[in-house]
Subunit: 219 residues, 2 copies
DNA sequence: TCCGCGTTCAAACGACCGTTCGACGCCAAG
DNA sequence: CTTGGCGTCGAACGGTCGTTTGAACGCGGA
């Protein structure tokens, strides 16, 4: 460890950007855990085991690194949500019920949040970036709108009697529910219930959220 | 403005801590707008029109200032929530329905969020501190538990057939709803609906949230 | 009048930040 | 063998941060 030699030649085994990937993963994990402003470039490079200048060489700046992580993860999440909504639409002959629509909305972030999976930090990163984001990331969230529009339209088709205004507001409410699934909130929930809640099984949590949100949309 | 003289003698009109109050208010506003890490002590003192050393003199440190703001605002919020729950309990002879309980939970932060009121920044500060908080502030949120416990007990009394586990989870869900009422989210909602939603009237928003959350609890 | 206390002031300190620089090793192309 | 681009390295730069310092100020009580 303290050996200054043996710099471990950059091992360009397959790609040439192993360093870039190491920086990406380390930054995502540290940002998700401690927040953007609380993690320095030196923390990232130390965690990744690379040189300090790697961030600026491969990504341009610390902000650009954060933005690239955010852009990739949100596009992955939106793509999976759109795929599930498309499948539900096909399964129900173009008119999926409210519960199927909400399942396409809740499923991906909840499945990612499984504590053993590697996607656990990704969803934590997205949630944190959503509240600490820059003006650039607000712009990405603005494009998020076209993605949420499909869910709003599907919900309006599933509940044609409900005014569009109510659909938008209730979509806003359920997004608040899913964005609130932070580590800190889980801790409080555990402490509040005195250990009654077992959040380990994300499938059961998904059913719980669907029961609650579906009833809210049916009001 | 550029006049270095006329230092405006500390005008100890009534209390002796006009400087402390100015720092408190300026810090709360800036923290609510830009986040904790994005606001420097120099920003605060410049906004308040006081000397740079005032923060450390009156509050000890920047972190202690943040903590004191957070502690005061959360205690105010919890006190008002407890008062409304107490009133609802008395009004319904000890067994308030779900909607009345949720109204005591939603009302204070929504009424504070009125854009013209001076409490508008307070609720924004609380929401932001809840996601960017330190370990010390997590401790305060831990004491929040005893405050939420009363709401959980009232909800369990209103729906005795519902398992306690579900009550805790659904309380977690509705807290996510109310904590999601950020400026950024409002912007997205406006852009999403194409201007259909008018969030100006907080009373209408409160009714919307109550409709949704009550139906969710009744599932 | 003078002293002591609380408060404010300008100025600086040390630490940490993001970023940049120039040199070096490597490998493929000429 | 030479050359040049690419990636990495240690080291440093300028700037901003939170905090501290010591002097000055105002003012009420000996």
């Amino acid at each position: 460890m303290t050996e200054p030699l043996a710099p471990e030649p950059p091992e360009t085994e397959e790609g040439q950007a192993v360093t870039k990937a190491a920086v990406f993963n380390a930054a995502e994990r540290l940002f998700a855990l401690h927040g953007f402003q609380n993690v320095s470039v030196r923390d990232i490079t130390a965690e990744a085991g690379v040189n300090l200048a790697s961030v600026n060489y491969h990504f341009g700046s610390k902000d650009a690194l954060l933005f690239e992580i955010f852009r990739r993860r949100t596009s992955e999440l939106n793509r999976e949500r759109a795929r599930l909504l498309h499948e539900a639409t096909a399964r129900y002959d173009g008119k999926p019920p409210v519960r199927a629509i909400l399942q396409a909305l809740f499923g991906p972030p909840l499945r990612w949040a499984k504590p053993d999976g590697d996607r656990c930090v990704s969803v934590q990163f997205i949630i944190r970036a959503r509240s600490e984001g820059n003006a650039d990331m607000r712009e990405v969230l603005r494009n998020d709108v076209s993605h949420l529009e499909r869910f709003a339209n599907a919900l309006m088709a599933a509940r044609p009697d409900l005014p569009a205004e109510d659909v938008y507001w209730r979509l806003h409410f359920v997004l608040g529910m899913v964005h609130n699934n932070r580590f800190a909130e889980f801790d409080r929930l555990h402490h509040l219930s005195g250990g009654v809640t077992r959040e380990g099984e994300v499938d059961a949590l998904l059913e719980r959220m669907l029961d609650f949100a579906e009833a809210g949309f049916m009001a």
